[in-house]
Symmetry: C2
């Protein structure tokens, strides 16, 4: 019954099919009978919990409090901020609320339901800053093709919503949260990101501006990893959120909102996975080690005894002890498919030498390690894997982001599945045109730290450029 | 601006209004613009997180894995198990899914959506037991009057769903999870509960039997705190969940499901709160201490310095340092309202004597404690508070659960806002009749450990009794 369970296509040959198989076969997720929705299986949910645990710690330090607001938003409330309503309306799922005759939106995001409460909670400058976060499900009735983790009609996320006395605080913290997201991506998920501002066309509906971090995936497409929106005073006006200032006069506060989602798990799969399966960066792996005993009838008892000792010794890494009645080779394949960072092999030969074999998931490098130095070596292996994954991804990003001085260079770059750094005059006409010319690449973001002098002219119109931007196809 | 923020009615005089004020004024929750839905504010969400953290640890030990299933359930799927569909149908909120023409239920519980997946995941006895848990929101479109935390149209909960090879395992673990819930109630929330089986009328729709824990609230009404359902093979047949057994033959597995919800927070408020506000049992309080400095201009600097030292010293209890510009008395009121277990007062007099004043939230007892023994005393105070709350609640339960040998004793007990232990013949007729006779009290549960010999005859028909049951009015 030991059938092959591996991925049947190559990542470099059929990326899209490879991605789907990698997710399904590593037991991260499953399709659901509701079109566009997915089941997040325990292996993926454990990664989400690692992200939650890490970020909740950070949120506590930043004095952000977790809360929970209703799933349903009355239509009248949902439509209070005109831009916001217009932007989200096409993808809202509604239920009919027969009692009041008013439809209820199933939250695609919670600005409107939260800010209705905020307008009651905030009276004085003493109530500010107010910093609220929510971990929840949201629903966006996508009409585009859905993809596991990347675009589903329901997904899990966190949404932070802060209210400030001053514009300056608001701007500063909008970037602060973006920076927190950058840390999650780079330090936990080992995925380098580029931070920037969205163009007006691409910003969040209702925001003054949207900042984002974006990562370049192996197929040359950019994936938005997190956003932080400066909402200015627009929602405050629409929802009548005001406060008595230090001078006893009435003011409207400044707001931001920011979010990351289970999409990050999809990014991790794409970025680090290989033809043997997914690769979970150690810092985000709930179970960092699998112990595979090499079992023979004669020595089985001693081997299992030692394996159990190792499991106890290494318990902070939550090791899996796989003593099922399959062959070692079959187990190796399965755990490689599932991306466990380190495999420990132990059999009678190892027992004799008082050692184990450590195998890294990322490089497949093997090393014999004596019991005495096992803990130290494991720690080092885990760090090395984490760093190696990031370094590889960083190298990929650098090698695949090239400068494009004019439209023909840009077209070539996009054709070759690269991202391009380009200069842009800031007109929407050029933004639209370069999308047409490249067959769909768009301005991913306006680089956050702009150079003092923009080197080139606008990549499309060749007039004086205003910004350096990142251009790529995108998810 | 130091207006009184306290509760304006007495718990013993107007319990219902007291409950609502206690919740709103302690910032646990707020009403929402959607009728029957509520906002769970940070103070209450923190309690929910404490429950989650504790229970997640337990679930890991019990080898239950967290996962996440879709919010939406296609109508055809939802209706596959006839009893289940019939029971839940009246309270399901539906959305129209125009593409497929089929309505989608917003999950009131997830048996049907999960078991559809289970039928794909389970092939062999090697796949069993399967133990899955989900933390999520659920929606039940209540037609009864809603109450904050106790009955809302959306609430947060966890639902566990297990699949077993044998009936025995399934029965055993159905009770195991009930016992875990009992621990949460008694050890964390300090609320004693009575465990039992629901009558056939009251069991979960689709279950063979439902076990529950129930607590007696101060108004003499029983509140269901958690349930664990033995589903037998009914869902397995409806969803075609089968496995190849050890003898290579096909079998249907046995299943259970079990849940607790944010309702527990409402129970905590009712059980322990007093006329000054809510009282959070120490084990469930995220912030266990509030430090209130007694501030005078001359000594303020030193007092604040010491208060900060204490905050650092006691950081495992996540103390709040309240150095706002309100009077100490006002702050005392606020933190009593919010139920923080211990208050530390420190002013110039205390500085001089190298001591602080500790004040217990439950008994208001004060004690001067030298710096040197502070940590030890705090630990002791917290334990004492936890024990005292439980002991008080236990005493209340015992004093308010009385034996009723016949219907007139039962009517008297219920009239006096007591719960009653009674004997029952097991007929639905008597079950219905005693409800009518008592103005709505019902059989809460059939006591789990039945006495060998039932003492009395049926409380209603006076025929031979089969069970000892708990009868009370209920939420």
């Amino acid at each position: 019954m030991e059938k092959q369970i591996g991925i049947t296509v190559k990542k470099e040959e059929n990326f899209s099919e490879w991605y789907t198989q990698a997710i399904l076969k590593s037991d991260l997720a499953d399709y659901s009978p509701v079109r566009g929705c997915m089941v997040i299986k325990p292996n993926a949910y454990a990664i989400w919990e690692q992200i939650q645990q890490y970020f909740n710690e950070r949120l506590k330090k930043l004095d952000v409090k977790n809360a929970y607001f209703p799933l349903f938003i009355p239509e009248s409330l949902f439509k209070k901020e005109a831009q916001h309503a217009k932007g989200f309306n096409p993808e809202v799922a509604w239920i009919s609320n027969t009692e009041d005759g008013e439809r209820l939106a199933i939250r695609p995001t919670s600005e409107t339901i939260m800010y209705d409460s905020f307008s009651k909670w905030i009276r004085s400058h003493r109530d500010l800053p107010l910093r609220i976060n929510q971990w929840s499900n949201v629903v966006r009735w996508e009409t585009k093709a859905t993809r596991l983790f990347l675009r589903t009609r329901e997904f899990l996320w966190q949404e932070g919503h802060c209210v400030y006395e001053t514009r300056e605080e608001c701007e500063k913290e909008t970037l602060l949260y973006l920076d927190e997201y950058k840390k999650i991506c780079e330090e936990l998920l080992a995925i380098p990101v580029l931070d920037g501002k969205k163009t007006d066309q691409e910003k969040f509906a209702g925001a003054i501006y949207t900042t984002s971090i974006d990562a370049l995936m192996p197929d040359g497409k950019s994936l938005q990893m997190g956003t932080s929106h400066n909402l200015g005073q627009g929602f405050a006006h629409s929802f009548n959120i005001s406060f008595l200032g230090r001078d006893e006069k009435k003011y409207f506060p400044y707001q931001n909102s920011w979010g990351i989602s289970t999409r990050l798990i999809g990014a991790m799969v794409m970025m680090h996975g290989d033809n043997k399966g997914i690769v979970i960066p150690p810092k985000i792996a709930a179970e960092k080690i699998v112990i595979v005993p090499i079992q023979f009838e004669k020595t089985n008892k001693e081997v299992i005894k030692k394996a159990k000792e190792l499991k106890e010794l290494l318990k902070i890494y939550r090791p899996i002890l796989d003593d099922r009645s399959y062959s070692p080779g079959w187990k190796y394949n399965e755990w490689e498919l599932k991306g466990i960072p380190i495999r420990i092999e132990i059999g009678p030969k190892e027992l004799e030498k008082k050692q184990v074999i450590l195998v890294r998931r990322d490089t497949h490098e093997k090393k014999a390690v004596k019991y005495a130095s096992l803990k130290k070596e494991i720690e080092k292996f885990l760090e090395d894997i984490q760093q190696n994954l990031f370094a590889k991804a960083k190298k990929f990003l650098e090698e695949n982001t090239i400068e494009a001085k004019n439209i023909s260079e840009l077209k070539k770059a996009i054709h070759n599945k690269k991202a391009a750094k380009a200069s842009w005059c800031s007109s929407q006409k050029c933004e639209d045109s370069l999308k047409d010319e490249t067959g769909g690449a768009k301005i991913i973001n306006i680089t956050l730290n702009q150079p003092k002098n923009i080197k080139n002219n606008c990549v499309y119109c060749n007039q004086k450029a205003k910004y350096t931007v990142l251009v790529a196809k995108s998810y």
